[in-house]
Point group: C2
Chain length 333, copies 2
């Protein structure tokens, strides 16, 4: 089935209409983020690169778009008891901030291994921090307890149509800012970001290529695409703390149908990409946020004949919440 027919089938958790509605809903609250470019990086990659700086989004990551859309979609009676979520950090801060703007409580389940700066962001925005173990099972089980105790509403970090729609607003902005984009490289974890970005971009121009960037140590999306079904891993091992989740039943069909390829990269290349973001673009980008630059500079991308006519490539720098000490230490390993 053609891309356009699939898009019109109504088979997915979000579509171009829900994404445009999200844009109307969240525009009063979000930053329209800058797009940066660099002759130096264009020269290194041999393509024209456009960096969509979601690290400049409120809360320091794209997550605020989806959280804002989800929380402002709630009816007053739904919102009354507040919201709950579990997140390694950026979604947590985003939910805290959006709940604060809506004037409702936010209960945030955070795994013990979350970066310090991300926990501080949650507290800065008034979120109520509840600790869990690092596993997804522990995160979900603690969140369920909080849901039952508080009567609050769950705002899932990715497996939710309102979240997917919110993240999709990035493509609406990006393609207005740089209409000639022919390829978008997007970090993949649970898949909320890339689902929204792919739906919106392919609805505007079905020829745009959507490429996922994934760490080798958490390569469940690449394995899922190869297997034709959701694959999970017994454990993950990557510096990219935001990219350790697995696909959900709402994000998977969108990824299966609209993501053109998954590019896996090594942690050392993610660290080098962070360094380039800092030294050349002058932007603080966390490991998960810099992976798109690592992907576009990888042999996997540059030497694949399928991508040789990807000339105007957008890279979503998805977040900027990185402890400076961690950055410095990772550069010196």
């Amino acid at each position: 089935m053609e891309v356009t027919n699939k898009l019109e089938s109504g088979n997915y958790a979000a579509d171009i209409s829900s994404i445009k509605e999200a844009q109307q809903r969240i525009n009063p609250f979000i930053h329209k983020t800058s797009v940066l470019s660099s002759d130096t990086l264009n020269s290194i990659s041999g393509r024209k690169l456009f960096f969509k700086c979601e690290c400049f989004q409120k809360g320091g990551a794209f997550k605020f778009r989806g959280a804002c859309n989800a929380i402002f979609s709630l009816k007053d009676e739904q919102a009354a008891n507040g919201v709950v979520t579990h997140s390694s950090g950026n979604h947590a801060a985003a939910v805290s901030l959006a709940a604060k703007l809506r004037g409702i409580p936010a209960h945030i389940v955070i795994p013990k291994n979350a970066p310090k700066c991300k926990v501080e962001n949650v507290r800065r925005y008034g979120g109520n921090v509840i600790w869990s173990d690092a596993t997804m099972q522990s995160r979900e089980s603690v969140a369920n307890n909080v849901l039952q105790e508080t009567g609050a509403v769950l705002v899932h970090p990715f497996n939710d149509g309102r979240i997917i729609s919110g993240q999709g607003t990035i493509s609406l902005e990006l393609l207005e800012q740089i209409p000639q984009i022919d390829t978008i490289i997007v970090p993949i974890s649970g898949g909320g970001l890339i689902s929204g970005v792919a739906l919106a971009a392919k609805s505007i121009n079905p020829k745009i290529r959507i490429l996922a960037a994934e760490p080798r140590g958490a390569n469940d999306a690449a394995l899922s695409m190869a297997a034709g079904e959701i694959v999970t891993l017994p454990q993950t091992n990557t510096i990219a703390d935001g990219l350790r989740a697995f696909l959900g039943d709402l994000t998977w069909p969108i990824i299966r149908d609209f993501v053109d390829d998954v590019i896996t990269v090594e942690d050392k290349d993610i660290i080098e990409a962070m360094r380039m973001c800092y030294e050349i673009l002058k932007v603080a980008v966390e490991p998960s946020g810099a992976i798109g630059l690592a992907a576009v500079l990888s042999a996997t991308f540059l030497e694949n004949p399928a991508w040789k006519d990807c000339n105007n490539v957008a890279i979503i720098l998805s977040g900027g919440n990185v402890d400076l000490g961690v950055l410095w230490e990772s550069f010196n390993k």
Copy 2:
């Protein structure tokens, strides 16, 4: 004499016409830089702050605007033997890049204490590095020798109408991006940046306040304003390596007549401002570049009744060339 009468007197090395001509000349080459904002920083300062990110300019600093204007103003016969300059770094890289674009050689005299990343920038853009001692006397004397040997043209880092005009294009851009600006805070060193910014901004709106930000350890501009004439210091002592020069005979009259005040800040506050730029704005800013944020957060600014109605304050983040190790070490002192 009224501001407007002074502006129309023709008594200065640049004016709104030369600045608009500079904009026409350099627009094909420069980045139109983003303006960022942050609710967190607005809340801390009690003002609406708008950060003009010249750290995203080509070469990593505003200096490329002036260098580009100066070098592309040269007639072919003037340009034939190339250009010479002396600079602690950002102007050096800017001249190297502009000369490369024009296709002429650039001879760059650099003091031995210049930051490593700035010297690397010069080499990246093909500049011919010639070392001098750290003093302004040594810089100027080595540059004079190179001028005589090569027959090249001097592109002074600030005391030059073409440089001042190029830097002034920042105000043209800024006031188009954020028309409600009522105050602009600008780092001051030799005065090329603030001269251009002040001339353009006051020509567009004479009521705009122009405030200079200067390190306590290199407070020659504050002393000059108090004395009514150029004051120099026997030595300077500040982390802000780009703010150690003294005013020139072309920049001084503009500063005397159009800068409303000089705010001096301590190095520890500059370092804290760098940290805020990194952690909150997600932008890499060098010490000299972050000083405007330190100034707007200082008691000197916030508690001065003269500035209590400065509500929409632009801060020029003038450069982003900072060695990450230096940043990290300065945070841990």
